[in-house]
């Protein structure tokens, strides 16, 4: 069990003078599940991108099964038996599972016998407990199933070392259970798994050994059985994590948002919201709990004015804004932190300044008579970067170079700058580490205390129980119940959103 399959020694990599990896060491044994734990921006993803040949290290060496290697591309890495499943899946929506799996393989006959391939891939998936229909087309699959296809792709390429980047970020609790059992299956079959994560619960549940990265350095490697959760948290963050978020009830009876009987279609023309009614009050956080795909995305788009409603009405601060333009809705005081911060939230090639003013560029202090006041914009952006502790190479550098956590902070900084009366946040902590998650929670609570009504969509029950004043459960496009945390049991809520109860953090 103690045979080294991978050794990364003294890996250093810097981007634009910022050290992302600083003399990092990583040793992984064959057949183990190794967790790479660290906060956002700790350098986990960079390290794995170096391992899979996406980046070239400035210095350091990689030894696989005792042989020193250098990779020029992911293809090289796969040839050496290393495959990675990224957070954003790389699948072709209109092709079947099998077609996606064999895509790019060279040793397939020019004339495909698709039946044989379906069969082979079906058998293959059963072997690892990755139940999936090889004939299904990708667009028909849930996020969890898509992830399984990605894993299947790697296994089919006879990868011995599989890396998963934040694999549970997009999964429902049940899907996480399935994933973990598949991973254990693979480890038993002699595959090695590296799982990149910042979730302590998961590490304690799945990992055999743990390497912690902090600030670009590898700070410790230990066996899971030798350590407790609290110790691990301290090593990862390098400081004590505040345990309980201070919460005050400032909720008033006034409704900021009133949705009544909203009906809307999804992109495929099927009914996604079927008569949804819900209210958000001034100074409250209303949590929306539910499994992804039950209308959350469409709900956000309806509120933002990006998706037409077929029936029902939407009132903001008592004013009817049903089917109004996005601009009118922004002017009514609605701020939105969308689910997809890369695609809908930020323009990746724009710099920090330009992204900050997306909704305020017309304001009198930002522009006069149609001309942007760059001097003011720059000063203001520099202040915001400091206030929100956003790590960036400068306000003129494009946001695509920033980590996910910092992009999210930037997005919150922008959305809250206008003192909104309603803030809609969809999965704001998805993919963020403990530190950034904490920062986002603080922002949400302080916004609430200033009287903003907040609609918080999340799959993380613990997060909702911690933050929300009321929790509404969404199921198949309707609110199926509203509960007050503390008065309803977790099991009750979990049952309503179709998951089981979970251990409560802190």
């Amino acid at each position: 069990m103690n045979e080294l399959i991978l050794e990364m020694r003294g890996i250093t990599k810097s981007f634009f003078g910022v050290l992302a990896n600083d003399n990092v060491n990583l040793m992984v044994n064959r057949g183990e599940i190794h967790a790479l734990l660290g906060e956002n921006g700790a350098g986990k993803t960079t390290l794995m991108n170096i391992l899979t040949g996406l980046y070239k290290p400035d210095s350091g060496e990689i030894v696989i099964s005792g042989k020193k290697v250098t990779f020029a591309s992911p293809r090289d890495a796969i040839k050496s038996g290393i495959g990675m499943v990224h957070q954003n899946f790389r699948l072709v929506d209109s092709l079947t599972v099998s077609e996606n799996v064999i895509l790019g393989l060279n040793d397939i006959h020019r004339f495909l016998n698709i039946q044989e391939i379906h069969e082979a891939i079906g058998n293959f998936s059963k072997k690892y407990g990755l139940n999936i229909d090889p004939k299904a087309e990708i667009w028909q699959l849930s996020v969890g199933e898509r992830q399984r296809v990605e894993i299947l792709k790697m296994l089919y390429r006879k990868v011995g070392l599989l890396i998963l980047d934040e694999p549970t970020a997009v999964l429902t609790p049940q899907e996480v259970v399935d994933l973990f059992s598949s991973l254990r299956n693979m480890a038993q079959e002699g595959k090695t798994v590296i799982i990149i994560t910042h979730k302590l619960n998961e590490v304690m549940e799945i990992a055999d050994r743990i390497t912690v990265l902090r600030g670009g350095k590898s700070v410790a490697t230990m066996l899971k059985k030798d350590i407790t959760r609290q110790e691990l948290a301290r090593i990862m963050v390098g400081r004590e994590i505040p345990k309980v978020l201070s919460r005050r009830c400032v909720m008033s009876e006034e409704n900021v948002l009133e949705l009544t009987g909203i009906k809307a279609l999804n992109d495929r023309g099927m009914e996604a919201l079927s008569g949804l009614s819900v209210c958000v009050r001034k100074g409250e956080i209303l949590g929306i709990a539910g499994v992804a795909g039950n209308g959350q995305k469409e709900l956000v788009e309806v509120i933002a004015g990006l998706r037409p409603t077929l029936a029902g009405s939407m009132k903001i601060n008592g004013k009817n804004l049903t089917n109004c333009k996005p601009g009118d809705i922004i002017n009514a005081g609605v701020a939105i932190v969308p689910e997809d911060r890369v695609g809908m939230g930020l323009a990746q090639n724009f710099n920090v300044i330009e992204n900050l003013i997306v909704k305020t560029y017309r304001d009198s202090e930002n522009s006069r008579r149609g001309f942007l006041n760059w001097k003011h914009l720059r000063k203001n952006a520099e202040k915001i970067v400091k206030d929100f502790d956003i790590k960036t190479a400068g306000v003129f550098s494009p946001v695509k170079l920033m980590s996910g956590g910092n992009q999210q902070k930037l997005l919150f900084a922008r959305e809250t700058s206008k003192k909104p009366s309603l803030l809609v946040a969809a999965y704001p902590c998805r993919g963020l580490d403990l530190g950034a998650t904490h920062a986002v929670h603080q922002i949400l609570l302080s916004q609430k205390e200033q009287g903003t009504g907040i609609l918080l969509i999340s799959e993380d029950l613990d997060e909702l129980l911690n933050l929300a004043d009321r929790i509404a459960v969404i199921y198949e496009g309707k609110i199926t119940g509203i509960v007050v945390p503390g008065k309803a049991s977790i099991e009750q809520i979990g049952l309503m959103m179709c998951g089981g109860g979970k251990e409560c953090i802190s």
Binding site: R75, P326, I336, G343, F350, Y361, W374
Partner: protein, 364 residues
């Protein structure tokens, strides 16, 4: 990525994505591209039995060799500047306006209409009118595809391209038919009154269109980088979703941008008929509207750079006439222009990727 993987398959030369692009690359790549084009063209000329050095000498001399040749180069550069600026604005917003040629023709057509039918007007009024008419003609030809896109969702790449042929045939119809000069045999319109002619720099054919182009470039630069409207245009081009979420009216901006984009090309057409020829005729443009696309990309959509690149391409066009005198087809120049774009686009890959050569084997 798949294509890259394919390219990389089993080769000792590999493409790697660059994380950061050193700014100097943006200068080196076009320069190296042009040198490679000259080498390729030279090879081609040598195969035809010409001395490449001599031919390039003639080309260069024909373009920039003396004051007269240089002024003629500027004359050719003016429509290239205006159309180049026009398409670059549309490109900045992610609209594929490849209809500058048609917009140029329609601008010329409208300006001609004004010049022919209001021939008694005093010069200042007349000039204002032909200018406006030229702009509006091009603007109309830009507005039509924009409206089709905004209201019915028709792809603008196709409509702008097809409308080029419509505009050219439209002009042909008028010069072969209703507007044909009754005293002439050739398909020309009547000669414009002097009041409709743009002022010319004495002793040359450089007309006031040059001032229009320079002004347009400066104004466009200011709009794009200094104004909220330019910010909207860039944001839409960069990420339409974010722009929509921000409440920016995308339809309105599309219409406006295409009106200006077409209007600038229309001014180029007006410049040709009111600045140089003095009447409407067949073939007023040797494909300026298409060359404009090359110029816009080579200049990376920077309005001020477009002015310079347009002069180089104007030189290529003008030098091409000198080549005809030694018996070479003028299309040599078209070939060189095409090759430049090809090489720069190829070079573009090298700004995003770097080539890595593995000397010893291709193993990992």
């Amino acid at each position: 990525m798949y294509i890259l993987d394919k390219l990389n398959e089993g080769k000792c030369i590999r493409f790697e994505k660059r994380l950061s692009v050193p700014p100097v690359t943006y200068l080196i790549v076009p320069v190296v591209s042009v040198i490679l084009v000259l080498l390729l063209g030279g090879l081609f000329l040598a195969l035809l039995g010409y001395n490449p050095v001599e031919i390039y000498g003639i080309l260069l001399n024909g373009a920039f060799g003396n004051t007269y040749n240089f002024t003629e180069t500027i004359v050719h550069a003016i429509p290239l500047m205006l159309t180049g600026l026009g398409v670059s604005l549309a490109f900045k917003m992610g609209l594929w306006n490849i209809g500058a040629e048609g917009q140029l023709y329609f601008g010329a057509f409208m300006a001609t209409g004004v010049a022919l039918f209001f021939h008694d007007l005093p010069t200042p009024l007349m000039l204002t009118l032909v200018l406006t008419a030229g702009f509006l003609g091009g603007a109309l030809w830009g507005f039509v595809p924009a409206a089709l896109k905004v209201f019915i969702g028709v792809n603008e790449t196709l409509t702008t391209l097809l409308l080029n042929y419509v505009a050219i045939l439209w002009v042909d119809y008028f010069i072969f038919g209703p507007w044909k000069d009754p005293k002439g045999f050739l398909p020309y319109s009547k000669v414009f009154p002097q009041s409709a002619m743009l002022p010319v720099y004495p002793g040359t054919r450089i007309h006031a269109g040059l001032i229009l182009a320079i002004l347009a470039a400066i104004i466009l630069w200011i709009i794009i980088w200094k104004t909220t409207w330019g910010y909207e245009i860039r944001l839409i081009g960069e990420n339409t979703q974010v722009a929509r979420t921000a409440g920016i009216n995308i339809a309105k901006n599309m219409l406006l941008v295409m009106i200006i984009s077409g209007g600038l090309a229309g001014l180029a057409g007006m410049g040709e008929v009111c600045g140089i020829i003095g009447r409407l005729q067949h073939n007023i443009s040797p494909g300026y509207g298409y060359t404009a696309i090359i110029i816009a990309w080579l200049s990376r959509l920077n309005p001020l750079v477009i002015l310079l690149v347009a002069i180089i391409f104007g030189g290529l066009n003008n030098g091409g006439y000198a080549l005809q005198m030694v018996g070479l087809p003028e299309s040599i120049v078209t070939m060189l222009q095409g090759a430049i774009l090809l090489f720069v686009l190829g070079g573009d890959i090298l700004t995003q990727y770097r080539i890595k050569i593995h000397r010893r084997g291709c193993g990992v």
